[in-house]
Symmetry: C2
Subunit: 399 residues, 2 copies
């Protein structure tokens, strides 16, 4: 059902020196599926992350943020099947016990382990199952790692690039998961990107924020900002050293390319998605104003069901722009579906023919472009449609 999203070819995913992956079947929610991933980092690796702003953020989010303030992260442990959110003090204790157990396998302290969870909310984490599965961890590649963090995802999400720097070539490989409860406020459900290039901690911390804002923070499936969002950038440090600001920029462009690919993959695999839609709002007074308008369009159930039906009932888009809260001038707005000018200066373009918009919307990918004509700022989001299967998936999930 995913839109133009083939499973990643394992051969296309470059291993990242300094990052060892191992995977197990812990039976956290369902038997016989990969649901536990440990990413062990070389000594001296740097790690930076951004996390959900949901006030009900999960126990592993609280713990990972705390552990990131310390030093020398030795490993990340990621489970699917249980989000460990809405679980109170006991949830924190259980997440910590997993960090302890993972730490013991590599002579590290619990505070050197970052925990991540995804899955059902408000049920206690079966930490004992996870701990019991640790001896059975088997080395794996990034494709298997991507598979081990899926929930309602139908396709594993992984992407890899190499980039030339002054000191030599660096690898950037990342994985992500997510299909519903997706409207990242800092990052998506779970996204991990690793490079072997050696970057100082401070530079890594700045980069993860900038990249998140231009990738994971630009997608929405259903407007539901999750309790567990986390996007983590790892520099294993065993590869080439990044020495200059110019080199940081070059590396960052590649990290951004990987992050955008992963963020867009989440939308392509959005729950029930049949369309991948780019929402571009241009010529606003500020980027914030453009984002407000873009999110109103991307979250409207009426707009999303019209996308599903390829029905150019495009008054719904104007309506959503009107209630977005942005102080737009309605009689200046031009609205396009791909190249089709639908509304001109806030009203129907006299030469507009519905058949043209319909043809554009019948494609699995198209762009909604709203030109506000009141400034120079712009914003772009990626979203999907709202189909019968979205309801089916979410009415049946868990049961």
């Amino acid at each position: 059902m995913a839109v133009n999203l083939p499973p990643p070819d394992p051969a296309s995913l470059y291993p990242v020196p300094g990052v060892e992956l191992s995977i197990a079947m812990a039976g956290i929610r369902k038997p016989n599926r990969k649901d536990l991933l440990v990413m062990r980092l070389a000594a001296g690796a740097a790690v930076a992350g951004v996390f959900t702003r949901n006030r009900f953020c999960a126990a592993p989010v609280l713990l990972a943020k705390k552990h990131l303030k310390g030093k020398a992260i030795a490993a990340l442990v990621v489970n699917t099947g249980n989000a460990n959110a809405g679980t109170g003090k006991e949830g924190l204790e259980r997440a910590f016990s997993v960090c302890e157990a993972v730490g013991r396998t590599m002579q590290a302290k619990p505070a050197q382990i970052l925990p991540f969870s995804t899955g059902v909310i408000m049920e206690q984490l079966p930490a004992e199952k996870m701990i019991a599965a640790l001896p059975g961890l088997k080395p794996g590649g990034w494709a298997a790692a991507a598979e081990a963090i899926m929930t309602t995802d139908t396709v594993p999400k992984a992407f890899s690039r190499k980039v030339k720097l002054a000191g030599g070539e660096a690898t950037v490989t990342g994985i992500a998961k997510g299909a519903g409860m997706i409207r990242p406020d800092m990052a998506t459900m779970l996204g991990f990107i690793a490079t072997d290039a050696k970057l100082p901690q401070a530079a890594l911390g700045r980069m993860v924020k900038r990249v998140a804002d231009r990738s994971f923070n630009c997608v929405t499936v259903d407007g539901d900002t999750s309790t567990n969002d986390a996007f983590v950038l790892i520099s294993s440090g065993v590869g080439v050293e990044v020495r200059t600001e110019k080199e940081v920029k070059i590396l960052e462009e590649t990290v951004l390319e990987v992050a955008r690919h992963l963020a867009q993959a989440i939308i392509r695999d959005g729950e029930g998605a049949t369309k991948f839609v780019t929402v571009s709002v241009e010529r606003g007074r500020s980027a914030a104003e453009c984002r407000k308008v873009a999110y109103a369009i991307a979250h409207s159930p009426l707009v999303k069901t019209a996308f599903f039906a390829s029905d150019p009932n495009l008054g719904r888009i104007l309506c959503a722009m009107g209630y977005s809260g942005a102080p737009i001038d309605t009689d200046r707005i031009d609205l396009f579906i791909d190249e089709v000018l639908v509304a001109k200066r806030g009203t129907r373009n006299p030469s507009y023919r519905e058949a043209d918009a319909q043809a554009a919307m019948q494609k699995p990918e198209f762009t909604v472009r709203a030109v506000l004509n009141r400034g120079k700022a712009a914003a772009t989001l990626w979203t999907c449609d709202f189909s019968f299967d979205y309801v089916k998936i979410n009415a049946e999930y868990r049961t």
Copy 2:
């Protein structure tokens, strides 16, 4: 499909002296259906209204607001099938031409006529069809009037009460329409309540705002604030005179009862609705904070699909509260489904059994009660679930 909403019994709807209703089939969108309503008012009637805050508000909304600033409203003209929104200057001219034509039939000026439209957006109003249908208007009652303003509504919405005042008995009768694009910011798609009681214009203007805030402004189907929302309160003035503040209060309670019934009827008939859900948020710092939390719950597609499935996947409710933007203390929150305590102090109630919440959610009506335990304010909303039929209706509407 509507939830506990039988069609109104015409005999239960009291005529309002001083308000004459007439109805026609103008073929605005479809042939052979009532789609045009004229409400003629007695000389000296007072009218007050509240309107959508959507910046793309419709031509009839702009015109009705302008005409309300004048005096002596003689009639309201309401059509279904076309919203006359996103139609620019031509939309205003067409709406005005209808006001002119209606005015001519009763020796009134165009500015004494209030126009209202509902239906598809961004298509020009077929004013000529409406004008041609005026000679064919036939007298009708409130049940027929309610029918003449339906769009995707499956049940006409009308309600009536009598109330004893010092000078005698007064009648309060109202109609409304709406099923989708419902998240009134001032009022719902269209709601009209008339009383024969005589009230000064200023008192009527204050009353319409207070009543809207406690009725139509407390419902949401899909979060889409429409371009055409209008709620109008009419005092025909031919009945008892309301003389004291105490009497205003008594009348207002009855108007509120009628308005709440109509607002809740819109939710019971929400597009695809199978459940009628009351969302009550209590013990917050402010009513605004409670409303923020309540709307986050009521708009979450994940929560609404869980309502549909009667699946107590209630972590989704905590998640929505967490991203609502309200500064809630997550470890103080208690969450109930009817009488079932699901979450206690932000985490799962140890004695909670899912079967209990499931039993509550399987009923066609239940209450989600979130107790914030940080203040004394409260807010209540009414909403519905998100079903296959919501997608079906909105993917197929118009086509």
